[in-house]
Amino acid sequence: MKPAPFEYHAPDSLEAALALRAEHGDEAKALAGGQSLIPAMNFRIAQPALLVDLNGVDELRFIRMEGDELRIGAMTTQNTLERSELAAKHQPLLFETVPFVAHPQIRNRGTLGGSIAHADPAAELPVAAVALDARMKAQSVDGERWIPAKQFFQGFFTVDLQPNEYLTEIAFPAMPPRTGWSFMEVARRHGDYAMCGVAARVTLDGKGKCKAARLVYLNVGEGPVDAEGAAALLVGEKITPESSAAAAEKASAEISPFGSVHASPEYQTHLARVLTKRALRRAHERAQAAS
């Protein structure tokens, strides 16, 4: 099928883009990489009346350090991110996650901001953002506000953005010292949306015990699923096969997979258990290496 007609605007500044958003509200849908929006339009699942193409807004394409935070403009492509030395050095978990998103041809157009704003429960980058305690910058003609990742994702394809706001920037705070990380997923083919995936983060104390942990899952709930109970079980413990298995068991009760033609909920839960143990082992090794 072909997209329904729409009015097209291609502003060349953020100011002009936000003015269109202020004037038309929710009608003024942002067109970022188009790698989720255009398929939906081709099938007429989405029929926006007005598109604001952000590809000409160069001020939304940047990767830079501010203090010890990595700041990334919403229109930075996934391809730019996976080649960024700054990202590799300062946000290795994010860096390691990007190549799991779709195929290179998709990542050449798809953006970080588009993936975060789209909030597909099966998407990798929102999971990385929650695991890393990222903050999202929402801007309107009236000003800006910063929203913690956990509050930003509000369920199926739903985020905390007002009808006059666009997402303009994502900030990733530095990970604490003695922290290890891992991202793992299982997909039927490389580049497909995964049946389950996890971002794990482990911080060790001076004695080698777990001081803090995060376990965040994809495609097993309405958005990124932060298994706080499982992570809490690890705090104060050594990361061992036994403590990891206990965390995996707890996490399997915190997720709520829906199942699909490719994977039953039981199979997704099985994947979550296995991935939790593997990701914790890898994150622990890295935390030890960083100690």
């Binding site: 997209p3 081709n42 195929h103």
Partner: protein, 158 residues
């Protein structure tokens, strides 16, 4: 209908001026307005890769862009590679190694691989399979495509 907008881009080395309704997909513009039917339309949602073209040198899905978004950009389609008499090295390798049967998927594979081989002149078989994971072929079972890419890399390095 919404009004048509002006277009200006370079395609296969030629400047092009035209116009298109905003909702017209780039691949449809290339096929129907420019008559370059080498880029194929398989799925229209980014999955099959048959419509892959180069946009400023990078492979992208031309079914997931509007023609108006190509303004000021440089496009290359499979027609820029070679002719039946003087094939591109990669096309020759596909020919020699039987990298195609019906050929529907081939333009997408070629346009994915041209920049890939420039960046990775010596890919392993695993890396090759990874590189073509975004292109679907319903005929070959992929083995001969992989063979063709290995052959092309060997020729490139010879």
């Amino acid at each position: 209908m919404t009004d048509s907008l002006k277009l200006h881009f370079t395609i296969n080395g030629q400047e092009h001026h035209g116009e298109a309704e905003p909702r017209l997909l780039l691949v449809d513009y290339i096929r129907h307005h420019l008559g370059l039917t080498g880029s194929h339309v398989g799925c229209e949602h980014g999955v099959c890769g048959a419509c892959t073209i180069l946009l400023d040198g990078q492979p992208v899905r031309s079914c997931l862009m509007f023609a108006v978004q190509a303004n000021g950009r440089e496009i290359r389609t499979v027609e820029s590679l070679g002719t039946p008499e003087a094939m591109h090295l990669l096309q020759e390798a596909f020919h020699a190694a039987h990298g195609l049967q019906c050929g529907f998927c081939t333009p997408g594979f070629l346009m994915t691989l041209v920049p890939y081989l420039e960046e990775h002149p010596n890919p392993s078989e695993d890396e090759i399979r990874h590189a073509i994971s975004g292109n679907i072929c319903r005929c070959t079972g992929y083995q001969h495509i992989v063979d063709a890419i290995v052959l092309a890399a060997q020729k490139m390095n010879a």
